[in-house]
């Protein structure tokens, strides 16, 4: 049985959710902001709760669920990120008059799903968490009901997501059949006990590889790694920019956690096999992401491909198959999320001809109309490229370092060369905002003070990357000690 105190964070979210659903029905439209603030409060409170009970929560709740330091770190990170995302979303939705509390509520379901994913110690819970997240994302994408793009994106994501769920389940069923258990621990023990692990003739191994491939493909679909990335550009493009912001950030963290939990610990016995797969995935992702991004004109689409490339880098870190690589991957993931929140958050606050920003050319001459915004955007883009001293550099540095230290130098060289190719499309945006003729129709939805502070924080993080570095160190080593 479960001691429910341990899942108190989830309970906080759930009860807030239920309360607000009901409350919101009775609030008149001018008081709807109350629910928004309640949501924000619950997120922050939940984060605070986890933070304040950090060591207390460091236990395995049951075979199903754990609340280790590792997962709690990510939970706090997700909660805070979501709070920021909600801020941008609220500003955006209000500005364009499509504000509905349900948007936030449905997203909260997704949050719950992610928290479950992060904490799951059992494939059932993992599945439920993933589904909770996916279902909420399907709805959120389709939320802009009057937009054809949104519904098309939602349909695409839905169908493909369902297929990937099917793959996941198929893989899980195989695992279940082969190991007789759904619990991470037992599967781990079972796999580790198999003898002659790298011997392909072992029938069990082939079965496990089948399962591994199905699960890995499903997760890389959720992650957005090529060649299972096809939904990313379309969905990012089709959704409202704040939804893109949501999609491209925290779900990646959750999926990353799952990946690292499954691959690095549960399937650690199959390390030799899955590293090859992640290498293929990452190389393809980096290639496809960086190359196709070059010819994009829509900024969301471009950033979608950039996401794919970044995912490739994360997988590259994972494919190192040792603690140093995982740390690098975690660092990269967190960096990627922070940067992407900044990027999409900033873009969501820009208005061109009374519409949200769509094309890269909409930004032209941003520097002359709003130098500060242009400066912030430039910092983000440079961070994406990996130009020091911004945080993106440290992320790439760690990945490449982990590759070099495990003698994967050719991969390291590949990664850096693709960084160069990738720099081209980011530079093009900088070019548009700094070097092109200005258009006067460009404005912002609100003052960018908060964004400014946030991005300055980003810069600070770049100057003091040890903060994230220690965090990754701490949580990854925790994962492998327990």
């Amino acid at each position: 049985m479960i001691n429910y105190l341990y899942i108190f964070p989830e309970i906080i979210i759930t009860s807030a959710l239920c309360f607000i659903i009901v409350l919101d029905l009775f609030l008149p439209s001018r008081l709807k902001y109350i629910s928004y603030y309640l949501i924000q409060f619950s997120l922050i409170f939940c984060a605070y709760y986890i933070y304040s009970h950090f060591s207390y929560l460091n236990t395995n709740v049951s075979q199903l669920y754990d609340t280790s330091i590792f997962s709690n770190t990510f939970k706090i990170f997700i909660l805070l990120s979501l709070a920021i995302i909600f801020y941008y979303t609220a500003v955006f939705l209000r500005y364009f008059n499509i504000y509905q509390t349900e948007y936030f509520l449905i997203t909260m379901f997704g949050l719950l799903g992610m928290m479950i994913m992060i904490s799951s110690q059992n494939l059932i819970l993992l599945y439920l968490g993933i589904e909770l997240l996916s279902l909420s994302l399907y709805s959120v994408i389709a939320f802009n009901k009057n937009s054809l793009f949104s519904s098309e994106a939602a349909v695409k994501y839905y169908i493909l997501g369902a297929i990937s769920s099917g793959f996941l389940l198929f893989g899980i069923s195989l695992i279940y059949g082969l190991t007789g258990s759904l619990s991470f621990n037992e599967i781990f023990i079972h796999i580790s006990s198999l003898e002659v692990l790298n011997n392909m003739d072992n029938v069990q191994i082939i079965g496990l590889l089948f399962a591994l491939i199905f699960i890995l493909i499903s997760l890389s679909f959720k992650f957005g790694a090529a060649p299972f990335h096809m939904w990313i550009p379309d969905v990012y493009h089709g959704s409202v920019i704040t939804t893109t912001l949501l999609l491209s950030t925290i779900p990646k963290i959750a999926v990353f956690v799952i990946l690292i939990k499954l691959l690095a610990s549960v399937f650690s016995g199959l390390l030799l096999f899955w590293t090859d797969m992640t290498i293929v995935l990452s190389v393809l992702s980096i290639l496809i992401g960086n190359i196709i991004a070059i010819s994009q004109t829509n900024i969301k689409r471009m950033l979608a491909y950039s996401t794919i490339a970044n995912i490739g880098f994360i997988l590259l870190g994972l494919s190192v198959g040792s603690i140093i690589g995982y740390k690098a991957a975690m660092f990269y993931t967190l960096t990627y999320v922070i940067t992407t929140i900044a990027a999409f958050g900033l873009l969501s606050q820009l208005v061109y001809e009374k519409k949200p920003i769509e094309n890269i050319n909409d930004l032209s001459g941003l520097n002359s109309s709003s130098p500060f915004t242009a400066f912030l955007l430039m910092i983000i883009l440079l961070s994406y490229i990996g130009i020091p001293p911004f945080i993106g550099f440290h992320a790439k540095l760690l990945i490449i370092q982990s590759l070099v230290e495990t003698n994967n130098i050719s991969l390291g060289i590949f990664a850096v060369l693709m960084t160069v190719i990738g720099s081209f499309y980011y530079l093009r945006v900088i070019k548009v905002i700094y070097f092109d003729e200005s258009k006067n129709d460009l404005s912002t939805t609100s003052k960018l003070h908060l964004t400014g502070i946030y991005i300055m924080g980003l810069v600070l993080l770049g100057l003091l990357p040890d903060i994230l570095g220690q965090l990754s160190q701490y949580s990854i080593s925790n994962l492998f000690n327990t």
Binding site: V155, K156, I159, L160, I163, S164, F167, M200, I206, L209, F210, I213, F214, L216, I217, F221, P227, F228, M230, W231, P233, D234, F273, D276, M277, V280, I288, I291, I292, A293, I294, S295, Q296, I421, F424
Partner: protein
């Protein structure tokens, strides 16, 4: 001698810097500063010279300044004062001073009066820097600095396109020589670990059998160095095939032609070889090369002068030709004779140029001698000066040119090198012809330029005095120095040919008087006489004999008019092909291949791939699903070995 030398060297520099920094400076003030600074040098040089001759022998080497020092090696600036230095500094400062004086009037109309004196002062400094140099680095630096001064002075009238073309050409050609010089200097440094003359000379016996590896061939070190250095000398002293800059350099003001392009700078090459006589003594076949170059320069460049009509160009070719004589003497390793000819030549050639300047000034800057004439009455002093200089150049016995030139011819006469001998003698004939051509064309006949006689003096004092003063050494310095200096062990401590010289003197010359008397029986005197007579008819009586010869041999005539094709080569062929090559390299290789193909090509390729690859994102749901399924299949097939 230390302080005197320093003052001699740096006084002109001080003058130049003073002028440079002095913002508003009247013409008079600038000329005074310039002349004063040179005057100090000249007087000191003269004093040194006289004291040397009067038995105060010295040969001193001092280090003035360490230019650069590193881990055991030093690169220094120093002074070496010995007989060669003294005589050279005497020539340089003496001519320089009078040219300066001459320029006061000559340049008076020019708005860049001060600049002129800055340049000339700087030139004098640079030249003295070479002359007093005690090491190779200083030699090279001075070498370049005189090249720079020459460049600046040729292009003094920088709005004149021909002038700036000429100075560019002069600089670049000199730079070609400088490559040789620089490489030679560095090779010396590498092999002897020092740049000092003395250290190098001391090490020479050790280096005799050294070789240097050039493209796998082992070449004897010393001749190679000598050759490299001679390339520098040839460029500076306008020897074939690097001579063609000198006639063009006549675009500069005439005093400059006198100073730099006749008397001093162009003789730097001769001076250098003489200075390095220990090296050249050991350089074997290089001496033969030098001899061949010298003789052919002397003969062929003189022939070119025959067909020229520009007064300065004629004298310029004459200068090249005379430098050829000196080089020939060097090639025979009679360095002292070369220096002696250098000395006398400096005076009469400078004088010749100054006269030419005087004439040109009178003729309103007309330089074509066929348009002049009848200036004898208008410019008597110039006439006399020119006459002295001219006959000195021809080598009429008793003139200074005679002593030096006939000595050189005699070398070959007595060494049975008949080709060289007859060539040089023929050179005398040609010299006589072109000199008298100027003489007759300019001073006799009808004036076509409408020049009025204004006063009893043809020009200002400052212009005339130099002519007069220079005429004296042009006439007498040969006599004066022949026995007492040249054959009186003057160069004993500086040039290695002293014993040879003594032998030569004892065997063939005995004394200047006997030399003088013997010369009337010599072939060269005959040539001078025939030449004079011939030119009297040709140029004074205006018999169209020469025209007839010319039309009989159009090939020869054209050859001479085209200066054996060097004009074409230097003005058209080389620039055009360099430009062509440059454009080829730039457009074809740099822009097209490297930049467009490799650099932009890669970028375009990536963009192209990108635009093609993006098509796989078709937008169709079933394609996406298909991709996933195929991906699954591939993963299964690749990673599972059934």
């Amino acid at each position: 001698m230390y302080w005197q030398s320093i003052i001699i060297i740096f006084s002109p520099l001080v003058g130049a810097v003073t002028l440079l920094l002095k913002d508003k400076c009247t013409n008079i003030a600038s000329s005074i500063i310039a002349n004063l600074s040179i005057g100090i040098s000249m007087l000191l040089s003269l004093w040194l010279f006289i004291s040397y001759i009067s038995g105060h022998n010295f040969s001193e080497s001092h280090t003035l300044y360490t230019w650069y020092a590193t881990s055991g090696y030093t690169f220094e600036i120093g002074i070496l004062a010995d007989s060669l230095t003294i005589i050279m500094s005497f020539i340089v400062t003496f001519i320089s001073f009078f040219v300066h004086m001459y320029s006061i009037t000559y340049m008076s109309g020019d708005k860049s009066y001060k600049r002129f004196f800055i340049y000339t002062n700087f030139f004098t400094f640079s030249m003295l820097f070479i002359v007093f140099s005690n090491n190779f680095l200083q030699l090279f630096i001075g070498w370049e600095l005189v090249g720079l001064s020459s460049y600046l002075l040729i292009g003094f009238w920088y709005n004149k396109p021909s002038a700036v073309s000429a100075n560019l050409k002069a600089f670049v050609v000199n730079r070609v020589g400088d490559i040789g010089l620089l490489l030679g200097v560095i090779l010396i440094f590498i092999t002897s670990n020092s740049l000092s003359y003395n250290d190098f000379f001391d090490k020479l016996p050790l280096l005799r059998n050294d070789t240097v590896n050039l493209l796998g061939l082992n070449i004897d070190l010393l001749p190679f160095i000598a050759l490299l250095l001679f390339i520098g000398a040839a460029a500076k002293s306008a020897q074939i095939p690097l001579h063609f800059w000198l006639p063009d350099s006549m675009e500069g003001p005439t005093p400059i032609s006198a100073l730099i392009h006749a008397a001093t700078m162009v003789t730097a090459g001769i001076f250098m070889v003489a200075r390095l006589s220990p090296l050249y003594d050991l350089s074997g076949y290089v001496l033969d090369i030098i001899l061949v170059i010298g003789v052919s320069t002397a003969l062929f460049m003189g022939m070119v002068a025959l067909v020229q009509n520009d007064i300065k160009r004629i004298i310029a070719y004459s200068t090249i030709s005379q430098l050829g004589y000196m080089t020939a003497a060097l090639g025979a390793s009679y360095y002292s004779f070369a220096i002696f000819h250098l000395l006398t030549h400096a005076f009469f050639k400078a004088l010749l140029f100054l006269c030419a300047g005087s004439i040109i000034l009178k003729c309103h800057h007309e330089q074509d001698i066929t348009k002049m004439g009848g200036l004898k009455k208008i410019m008597p002093i110039t006439f006399i000066a020119f006459l002295i200089a001219g006959i000195s150049l021809m080598g009429v016995p008793s003139m200074s040119g005679f002593f030096s030139k006939d000595l050189i011819i005699d070398i070959f006469k007595y060494s049975d090198n008949s080709i060289a001998y007859y060539s040089l003698v023929l050179g005398v004939f040609i010299t006589t012809l072109y000199t008298s051509k100027i003489f007759f064309k300019v001073f006799f006949g009808e004036n076509q330029l409408n020049i009025k006689k204004r006063s009893d003096l043809e020009h200002n004092h400052t212009l005339i005095i130099p002519l007069v003063v220079l005429a004296i050494p042009s006439a007498f310095i040969g006599w004066a120095l022949f026995d007492s200096v040249l054959f009186n062990n003057f160069f004993e401590q500086s040039i290695t040919d002293n014993t040879k010289l003594v032998k030569f003197y004892d065997l063939y010359i005995y004394h200047s008087v006997s030399f003088f008397l013997h010369s009337f029986a010599s072939l060269s005197f005959a040539m001078v006489t025939i030449g004079l007579l011939l030119s009297y008819f040709l140029y004074y009586k205006n018999m169209n004999f020469l025209e007839k010869i010319g039309s009989k041999f159009p090939l020869l005539r054209n050859l001479l008019l085209n200066e054996y094709g060097f004009t074409h080569m230097s003005n058209i062929f080389i620039p055009r092909h360099v430009k062509k090559l440059a454009n080829l390299v730039w457009v074809k290789s740099d822009v097209n291949i490297i930049d467009n193909f490799f650099v932009n090509g890669t970028a375009k390729l990536v963009s192209f791939i990108s635009s093609k690859v993006r098509v796989i994102q078709t937008g169709f749901l079933y394609h996406y699903a298909f991709t996933m399924i195929i991906g699954l299949l591939l993963f299964l097939i690749i990673f599972i070995k059934f």
